[in-house]
C-alpha cells in the first residue's frame, strides 16, 4: 500500500503525455463511437451522455481540481483542509463522469481520492498528485471537445435581432393571410 500514490501519479503523467497526441480510449468510445456501457442515455439517446459527460469532465478537472490546487497556494490551507475540499467538490462530478462511462478519467480520479484519504498526509504530495490529475483532465477535455459532433449544431443557429424581426414578420404575414382567406364552414 505504501507509496501507491507515486505509482498512480506516474501512470497519470504517462497517460497525459500519450493524450497529447492520442485520444484516450474512453473519450473515443463515448464521443466518437457512441458506446456507453453503464446503461446511461435515457431512451438510448446519446445526447445525454455527450452533454453530461463533456460538462462533468470539464468541471471535474478545469474547475474543481484546478481550484483546489489554486486555493492551496495559500500555505494556511492544511492537508486536512485539502482533503476536505477533495471530498466535498469531486464526488458529484466524478459520479457523472463514471455514469457516462468516461472510465479512465473516472478511475484516475477515484484512485486519487482514495490515496488522499488513506495514504497521503503531506500537503505538497497531495497537490502534486492533484496537479497531475488536473492536467490529465485538461488533455481528456481537449479530446472530448474535439470528438463532440458539433456538426449537429449547424442546424441550430443562434437567432439575432434581425432573425427575430424577420421571423415575426413572416408569422404576421401568415396570420394575415389566414385572416383574409375565406373560411369554409365545416
Amino acid at each position: 500500500m505504501a507509496e501507491n500514490w507515486k505509482m498512480l501519479q506516474q501512470e497519470i503523467d504517462a497517460a497525459s503525455e500519450r493524450a497529447v497526441e492520442e485520444c484516450p480510449d474512453d473519450m473515443l468510445r463515448v464521443f466518437e463511437y457512441d458506446i456507453v456501457r453503464t446503461g446511461a442515455g435515457t431512451g438510448r439517446l446519446m445526447m445525454g451522455p455527450w452533454w453530461e459527460g463533456a460538462t462533468s469532465t470539464r468541471y471535474l478537472g478545469s474547475y474543481y481540481i484546478f481550484n483546489i490546487v489554486k486555493v492551496a497556494q495559500d500555505m494556511n490551507i492544511s492537508a486536512e483542509q485539502i482533503r476536505q475540499l477533495v471530498n466535498l467538490m469531486l464526488p458529484t462530478a466524478l459520479g457523472t463522469v463514471e455514469l457516462c462511462d468516461i472510465s479512465d478519467y473516472a478511475r484516475f480520479t477515484r484512485q486519487t481520492i482514495d490515496c488522499i484519504n488513506e495514504e497521503i498526509d503531506d500537503r505538497e504530495d497531495m497537490l502534486s498528485l492533484l496537479n497531475s490529475l488536473w492536467f490529465y483532465g485538461s488533455a481528456a477535455n481537449a479530446w472530448c471537445q474535439y470528438r463532440m459532433k458539433w456538426g449537429i449544431g449547424l442546424s441550430f443557429k443562434v437567432n439575432h435581432r434581425d432573425d427575430l424581426i424577420y421571423m415575426g414578420s413572416r408569422a404576421n404575414e401568415a396570420f394575415e393571410r389566414w385572416d383574409h382567406e375565406k373560411k369554409e364552414e365545416n
Binding site: S16, V20, E21, N131, S132, S138, Q145
Partner: protein, 148 residues
C-alpha cells in the same frame, strides 16, 4: 527579440508571435517548455478563437502566483493576441484570438502575432472551424522557439 513560432503542420501554416511588455515571466516559462504540441481546438461559445485545452509544461512547471499576472478581457484584446487560461504547474490552456470575441472574461496575455502574419492566423482559424464543425480532421499545433 523575444518570439516563438505557432504552427500547424497539417495545414502548412505558421505564425510568428512576439512577447509583450507584460507577463514576461509567463512568456519565458512557455518558451522554456518548447518545443511543445497540443491538439488544436476551437472555442465554441465566445467567438473566433483557436483554443488549446492542454499545453504541457514538461520542462519547467508554471509557478507564477496569480497576483503577479496581468489580465485583459478577451473582447477587448486585439486580434492576434495569444493568452493563457489557468496556467498552473504542469500546463495551461491557450487561446489565440483571430477575429471578434464576445467573451468579457479575463485572460492572461502572453504574446501577439506579428501584423504581417495575422491573415495566416485567420486562415488557420477558419480551417480549424471547418475541421471542428464539418470535416473532423485532426489538427495539431506546435510551439517552437524561433531559432528552432
Amino acid at each position: 527579440m523575444r518570439s516563438f513560432i505557432m504552427r500547424w503542420p497539417e495545414l502548412g501554416l505558421g505564425v510568428r508571435c512576439k512577447g509583450l511588455d507584460i507577463n514576461q515571466a509567463a512568456f519565458d516559462i512557455f518558451v522554456e517548455n518548447m518545443p511543445t504540441k497540443a491538439l488544436q481546438g476551437h472555442e465554441m461559445v465566445g467567438g473566433w478563437l483557436l483554443r488549446d485545452h492542454s499545453i504541457l509544461f514538461n520542462r519547467k512547471p508554471f509557478d507564477i502566483p496569480k497576483v503577479e499576472l496581468s489580465t485583459e478581457n478577451m473582447d477587448q484584446a486585439p486580434v492576434g493576441r495569444i493568452s493563457f487560461l489557468r496556467p498552473q504547474g504542469r500546463g495551461a490552456e491557450l487561446l489565440a484570438k483571430y477575429d471578434e470575441s464576445v467573451d468579457t472574461r479575463e485572460y492572461i496575455p502572453v504574446a501577439q502575432v506579428v501584423p504581417e502574419d495575422l491573415e495566416i492566423l485567420k486562415k488557420a482559424g477558419r480551417e480549424q472551424w471547418k475541421a471542428t464543425t464539418r470535416t473532423r480532421e485532426i489538427i495539431f499545433v506546435e510551439f517552437v522557439k524561433e531559432d528552432a
